[in-house]
Symmetry: C2
DNA sequence: CTAGGTCTGTTCGATAACGAACATATCTTC
DNA sequence: GAAGATATGTTCGTTATCGAACAGACCTAG
């Protein structure tokens, strides 16, 4: 994998005022610095927002940055706003296989909450961007209050279990093309535009297949007019088309996230960010 | 899959006294009725044992019995003692793929705790036996106390996430032989003897591969003297040998369960069952 | 604007697993 | 203990994916 892993996390701490009373006119420019772009943060009730938001740290999440090593202890949890992170496992032979992805719909660091503090898998940034992080002890403290934060986290954990389960199912039964389409759609849903900044090499590495397989499949999809790409960039031209090429796994995951985290019961009295969020 | 799904759950309610003060001399005959054979129940402190054990219902878990349908609401959680349950997903084309297995080390019904109340996957019995069940509301009540039950469940959830993750990884990268060995070992660890009662057909269905593939692989393993089998029964003759034939996935799962659920910190002041439990 | 590095395109034979078809063996039930 | 049902054995052609090797295209740093 040709991802740069040497870069370190750039900390960009923003003023507390801005964080607790975020501006509601969002331009593309400051989406990254808007906590509410992260769906979990957006779903928290005012009470928790008051306690937690002042403690959030805006951090740059550069491509390849490793948030969590296999077996490493978690110091923070991360709420991506514009970055996308992959949870994957590195095999003894050096190959890798993705377990799940995390973008602005979720958070990295569940093992902290669950008490294990670490996992055998790795979390690394596959689309550069930003996110907020929260110190481990603060997150744990809030979780252990047993209120809405706990309820929200438990539902998110279940949603993640479904995503991982479907990864397992998809890996077992579906073709590279179906899996690529699923992956593109899931990733697209985490981005504000229809363009992924991503090499075929990286995608192959995430899916745990050969790069040639991705080149060939992506070529087919391009020929069919569903996507277009150039070195390191993939633009989705026909979303519906991709959906017909993928397997049921995409919809299963999507529906469960919707059901668990976006139904009225899931987030009582949330801080609603009044931005048309096309990438929900 | 040729598993009988018509049989219904046989409820065998035992006296409260026996449950709260279990006999410590275990013969093979009454293992099934001993709550402490389930590791999670065994790890609960006396305080919770007092509240929960009188509410436990001993139930027969016949082969093929479905504990939870895709999308069905959970009425109980199940703690297997001698039964083994498979969590799997049925695809649109009717094929199936296992997500994880649950035996006396765990429980079925996490979606209840996490608040989703259901999952897209199915839970069905693949090795007949017994287990204890607890009404949904009682489990939830105990969990929401926020004490040791919650801590234990959170750790078990993390352990399950690791198991599911490794299923995904294994499905992606490893051969049928490696996967079969992993599966046999994981299943063996849930049983008191070295014999699995299980057809190749069922194993194939769980692994999501062809039955012929299992026949061929099992034949090889038998020729090498690692296992011996007859119609519907597989005996493991050389456990170490199987371990050398499997992939790293088995050890990863095993170690995480050990770390999360059997380290001293994981279960403070547990009710220890003084039985040499060769199968953990 | 050139050079080196990194991506992408393409080919080829190898191989693991598939799907279908059918033979044989083993259990169970009456 | 015979019949029917179910499990296992075996074969064969098919296919998706792999692994290796290399050519060409594209970016970006100097």
């Amino acid at each position: 994998m040709a991802v740069d892993k040497s870069s370190s996390t750039l900390v960009v701490r923003t003023g507390d005022t801005k964080l607790t009373a975020p501006p509601f006119r969002l331009s593309r420019k400051n989406i990254a610095a808007e906590p509410g772009v992260n769906h979990l943060l957006a779903a928290l009730p005012p009470e928790i927002v008051g306690r937690i938001f002042p403690q959030l740290e805006l951090v740059a999440m550069p491509l390849g940055h490793v948030l969590h090593e296999s077996g490493g202890l978690l110091q923070h949890v991360y709420f991506p706003t514009t970055a996308i992170v992959s949870l994957h496992y590195i095999l003894e032979d050096g190959a890798s296989a993705e377990i799940a992805g995390v973008g602005n719909e979720g958070l990295i660091g569940l093992a902290l909450i669950m008490g294990g503090n670490t996992t055998p898998s790795i979390a690394s940034v596959i689309t550069a961007g930003h996110g907020y992080r929260l110190k481990a002890n603060l997150m744990l403290e809030e979780f252990n209050r047993g209120g809405p934060m706990m309820q929200l986290m438990l539902k998110y954990i279940q949603a993640m279990m479904t995503q991982i389960s479907q990864t397992a199912v998809c890996n077992r039964r579906h073709s590279v093309e179906q899996q690529l389409c699923r992956w593109l759609l899931l990733t697209l849903d985490r981005l504000p535009s229809n363009e992924l900044t991503m090499t075929q090499e990286l995608i192959a590495s995430m899916l745990g297949v050969r790069r040639e397989g991705i080149t060939e499949t992506a070529g087919n999809l391009q020929r069919e007019g569903l996507i277009s790409y150039r070195r390191g960039h993939i633009t989705v031209l026909n979303r519906k088309g991709l959906e017909t090429h993928t397997c049921e796994c995409y919809a299963v995951v999507k529906k469960e996230f919707q059901r668990l985290l976006h139904s009225p019961a899931a987030a009582p009295a949330p801080v609603r960010i009044s931005v048309t969020n096309s990438y929900l």
